[in-house]
C-alpha cells in the first residue's frame, strides 16, 4: 500500500506473473480487497490459457494446429482486433508472424530460451497470410500454413479486461509488462508512469486510455552469433532492423497503443515521429544511437 496525497484513498498494489511478464495492478480505493486482485489474477490465467502459443492445449494452439476452429468470444474478439490492426497499419502489425518468430528461435517461453544458441539457418518465412473470421458462426479460418501469435495484443487486451474487473473498486491501473490500461482518475489527476530514456526517466501523466512500449531492448537472444529480438517485421519475416530502440505510445486503450507502438517501431525514427505528429499520437521514442524524440503533441 502506498500513501497518496492528503485526503486521497490509499493506493493498493498487487503483482503476479502471467503471460511471461509481471502484471501489476493498482487501485486507489479503500474498498479494493484481496478478492478483487485474486479475480484479476484468475482472469489473466484464464486468458493465458486462451491466447498462449506456448501451451499446447490453449485455444490459440488448437486453432494454429487445426487451421480452422469455432472460437470463444475472447479469441474471436482479439483476432478481429488484430486483423483490423493489420489493415489500419498497412501490414506493419500482423498476427501471422508466429512461424517467423519460431524460425528466429523464439519457439518456447522466453524464460526457457537459451540466451545463445546455434541452429541451422532456416528458410525465410513469409507473413501476411489470409485469415478470415465469420462472427455469425464464430469461425476463424487460417490460410494455408498460417499460424497466429497474439502475444502483445493479447497482453493489452488482458490489461483492459483487468481494469474492467477492478474499476468497480475505484480508479485503477493494470500494467501487463509495459502494456498498460487505466480506468478513472486518481486523486492527483493523472497516473504518473515512468518511461526509461538515455537522458533519464521521463514521467508521463496518463489520464485515460492506455500506453504501450515496444522495443528491441527486451526479449533478445543470440543465434549463430547474431543478435535477434521478438519484434518481427512482417515485410521480411525476420526481426526488424531500423534505428528505433524503443517506442512508447499512448492510445485510446492498451490494445490500440500496443498496435501503434509496433507500427511506429517498424516505421523508423523519422517516419515514426512524422506519423505520430500527423495522427496526434503521443509517443516517446528512443533511437539506437541514444536520441530521445517526442511526437504527437507530447510536450
Amino acid at each position: 500500500m502506498t500513501l497518496n496525497p492528503v485526503g486521497a484513498a490509499p493506493l493498493r498494489r498487487h503483482s503476479f506473473r502471467a503471460m511471461g511478464v509481471t502484471v501489476e495492478c493498482l487501485v486507489e480505493s479503500e474498498l479494493a480487497s484481496d478478492a478483487d486482485f485474486d479475480g484479476v489474477e484468475a482472469e489473466f490465467e484464464r486468458l493465458e490459457q486462451i491466447f498462449s502459443r506456448f501451451r499446447d492445449d490453449s485455444e490459440l494452439s488448437l486453432l494454429n494446429r487445426a487451421g480452422r476452429a469455432v472460437a470463444g468470444r475472447e479469441l474471436l474478439e482479439v483476432v478481429q482486433c488484430a486483423l483490423e490492426a493489420r489493415i489500419r497499419t498497412g501490414g506493419r502489425f500482423d498476427p501471422t508472424v508466429h512461424d517467423a518468430l519460431v524460425a528466429s528461435g523464439y519457439d518456447r517461453t522466453f524464460t526457457e530460451l537459451a540466451p545463445t544458441s546455434r541452429a541451422p539457418r532456416l528458410a525465410r518465412v513469409s507473413c501476411g497470410a489470409d485469415v478470415s473470421v465469420d462472427p455469425a458462426t464464430r469461425t476463424i479460418a487460417l490460410g494455408a500454413g498460417a499460424r497466429l501469435d497474439l502475444g502483445g495484443i493479447a497482453k493489452g487486451w488482458s490489461a483492459e479486461r483487468g481494469c474492467e474487473l477492478l474499476q468497480a473498486a475505484g480508479p485503477c491501473l493494470v500494467n501487463a509488462g509495459g502494456d498498460l490500461a487505466v480506468r478513472g482518475r486518481p486523486a492527483q489527476g493523472v497516473w504518473p508512469i515512468s518511461v526509461e530514456t538515455p537522458e533519464g526517466d521521463v514521467t508521463l501523466g496518463l489520464s485515460d486510455g492506455g500506453m504501450a512500449t515496444s522495443g528491441r531492448d527486451a526479449r533478445r537472444w543470440q543465434r549463430n552469433g547474431r543478435e535477434l529480438h521478438h519484434l518481427i517485421d512482417p515485410a521480411t519475416g525476420a526481426p526488424a532492423g531500423g534505428d528505433v530502440l524503443r517506442v512508447t505510445v499512448v492510445g485510446a486503450d492498451a490494445v490500440e497503443a500496443e498496435v501503434d507502438a509496433k507500427a511506429l517501431f517498424l516505421a523508423g525514427a523519422r517516419a515514426a515521429i512524422e506519423e505520430a505528429d500527423a495522427r496526434c499520437l503521443p509517443c516517446l521514442l528512443v533511437t539506437v544511437d541514444g536520441r530521445v524524440l517526442r511526437g504527437g503533441g507530447l510536450g
Binding site: A136, R246, T248
Partner: protein, 151 residues
Amino acid sequence: MRNHTVRLYAAAAALLAFFVLWTTVAAKPWATAKQPAADPRLVVLAAREHRLRAETTAVKRLVAHRWKVYERRLRARRREIAAAERRHAQQVAAAQLAAQRIAAAQAVASRTLAAAAPAGSPGPSPASRVVILPPRVQVVSLPPVTSSSSS
C-alpha cells in the same frame, strides 16, 4: 330283368340330365353380368380426394422451395449485419482517434494563440474561443506509480 334295370337307370340319368340342362339354361350364362350402378357421390369424393392430394404435393413443394429461399436470404442478411457491425466498430475506433487528434490539435492551437497574442491584449472573442480538452497524457513531475518498458 336286366333290361328293365338298365332302362330305369337310363331314364333316371336322362331325367337328371334334363334338370341340369334346365338349370343351366335358366341361369342364362350367355347374358353379360350386369354391374350395380356406382354411387355418384362416391365418384365425386374420389375425384376430390385425387385433386386434393395433387394440390397438397404442389403446396409442399412450393413451401420447401420458399423455405430454402428464406434460409439463403437470412444467411446473406446475417452476413450483411456482421459486416455492418464490423464497419460500425471501425467507425467508432476512427471517431475516438479523431477526437484524440482534435484534442491535441486544439491544445497546439491554444499554445500558438497564446504565443502570438501580445501581452495585455484581450483574449479571443467568445465566438472564436477554442474549447481545450485536457490532453490524454503530459509530462509531469510526480513520483511514478509504475513504469512502461519493453516486454
